[in-house]
Point group: C2
Chain length 432, copies 2
Amino acid sequence: MYDGLKGFREFYPDEMSARRGVTDAIEDRVRRYGFREIGTPALERTQLYTDKSGEEIVEELYAFEDKGGREVALTPELTPTVARMVVGKGSALQKPIKWFSTRPFWRYEQVQQGRFREFYQTNIDIFGSDHPEADAEILAVAADTMTDLGLSAEDFEFRVSHRDILGGLLESMDSDVETGDAIRAVDKKEKIDTEAYYGLLVDAGLTRSEAESFDSVLGTDDLDDLVDFAGTDRVEAAVENLRAVLEATASFDVREHCKISLETARGLDYYTGVVFECFDTAGEVSRSVFGGGRYDDLIEGYGGQPTPAVGVGIGHETLSLLCQHAGVWPEEGSETDYYVLTVGDTRETALEIAQELRGLGHTVETDLSGRGFGDQLSYADGIGAETVVIVGEQDLADDAVTLKDMASGDQVQVPLSDFPPEEGRPTYEDFG
Amino acid sequence: MYDGLKGFREFYPDEMSARRGVTDAIEDRVRRYGFREIGTPALERTQLYTDKSGEEIVEELYAFEDKGGREVALTPELTPTVARMVVGKGSALQKPIKWFSTRPFWRYEQVQQGRFREFYQTNIDIFGSDHPEADAEILAVAADTMTDLGLSAEDFEFRVSHRDILGGLLESMDSDVETGDAIRAVDKKEKIDTEAYYGLLVDAGLTRSEAESFDSVLGTDDLDDLVDFAGTDRVEAAVENLRAVLEATASFDVREHCKISLETARGLDYYTGVVFECFDTAGEVSRSVFGGGRYDDLIEGYGGQPTPAVGVGIGHETLSLLCQHAGVWPEEGSETDYYVLTVGDTRETALEIAQELRGLGHTVETDLSGRGFGDQLSYADGIGAETVVIVGEQDLADDAVTLKDMASGDQVQVPLSDFPPEEGRPTYEDFG
């Protein structure tokens, strides 16, 4: 008996069908926005991450030396690979570039609820537009996806902020502040107590009183307060950009899902503009469901032409938790249109009928084990068959088959000349 | 500038859309047969392979020690993981178990045409039936998939054999033969010269004259010859089983794709019954496109109850080559139903129309970069838009939009009350 690895999961068909339903819903919506699917490798050179990714990601890398002496790592996130692809084709790619993909990533993390060492993400990115409509489209595609899954404003909210507001407020302080450290402190605020939070801000260079007034202004609902507090062009421009993005979300009809929340900082260093995180309003999922934002400097950092960018990575594990808590997780189980049941020496005809039905696009199973009537019926029940097509010797003598409705148990004999028909998916109801 | 790893590929949208088309076609057909999707991890304990997989696979493992001191490996094939899953749930699983999945695997191989270090497979397996209908269903689902892709008997053939025919013939020799070595010799026959082939057979224990008569009988078309040659129950039973499987493929209407080829041995040691390989009849793909067969002892070998099994692993890279040579590779490129073009101060309405069209299920893009008329039209052309919806200030003053057919360049003004309609996907044709 062999065990799987901690933090790595296998999905049996019932659970997998629900997961597939969620992935299909996400991808269907994403495609409608004109995002195009890309395919990316599972391994990259370790240097791709040690050069550019945050410290936390590098510490959690599955990294090793391959048989050719190359330092390689299992991809812990998509962004560096996508950046490499954008840089690789450069100006040959029509802008804006709108790409998505769904696939697993790997990090050696502490395993806990909704967090695994192998986890799935749908990444959605726009490269080549610095206009607020691009930020809004990312918010809109994510919000519409949630709505498609059956979630509403009662279940989730996008907490939206702007990196330059935090950065600009910190810059406007009299003290010399380590902006990155202070932003990371804000990002951790909800997870630590107030004194520890102020401690981190003071470590980042603020005085205690600056830390308190900074914290206080972050809580405001009125963006004008921020502009007044900072009194700098940088904060004014950031506020104007955030307002324009939110205004565009209204045209996309997703404004109701977006809430200004200046304490939303996103842990990653590469964000440059609007940032947002999805939270469940019921608080059942104890942390951000997923997040995204603008990262205008990243492509240049990987050696490309300056290319504005904005994107979101939808994490399937936390999203699944949210769907389950909200009662919209797809039903787990199998569905089957027809089970073709063979009784007596009718196997050949049964296989032929099954093939005809498959040719019409239906999901069909038939006996592969030489079983009797009862065992076949029990199997048909187990796979969720809607209709059982009984092919008995007497049926065939009558040039007919018997259709049995599995929900009611009702059955009716139907001439072989009428079944299967050339189109449609007839059940007992159509003949009974 | 960063490079990807040798043997690992990224797929840009045009190529990816063709690959996705092939994967969707395969999975659609597989689902119609009632195979259920499973999800499996990318990493396993290395021991899972060193204990059971063939030497070749173990030599090519991407294996390393994780941060917790575990010896782990990137999965080089699906079978051991699936065996672990079947053993794990044991009798709780209704038989026959019919599973499939599409995903990448990894082997440190020599990179060549159609062979990469990261490669994709759709694995399709049936556990729990030793009846010939199960073998035939695997052949049928694979053949129907090929037909769905546009391939015909002129493009491919399944070379079908039975492990016990080879094994039984070897066993019936006077010499004491290392069966595994002799079967591997047969598997290599097409790749090496005749003398080397006989050399391997002699190394496996045959005399030179036995090797020659063995080779000669393998070339027969008449299965009765084999039974006579060997004169053993084992070969007779194997021939009977092979005949029953081929007979069942006739009921599945795929007999024309199956050709008896006793030299088809499959390299892997775990096959026990019918084995087959798909070859392209034109010989453009220089080796087996993919293969499969029966492996009745494997589940027990992993600690489970005796469970007969049969399956196929469709390799996407060689299949792609075959499709390309046969001229049925899907067209690479993007398709877009609508591009909503904004002229003047109409952005808000343009976004709203785009959202309405997306709500109806269409693929829609609109301007995210504040571009002018010509640049937007050029972008719409680049993404393969069928219809451009022009939202001009004059249009809106007329309570209308203009539909432009991108193929002909024709355009017509349509009242906003008629567009978008509540259903359908109207184009210029519907109004022009």
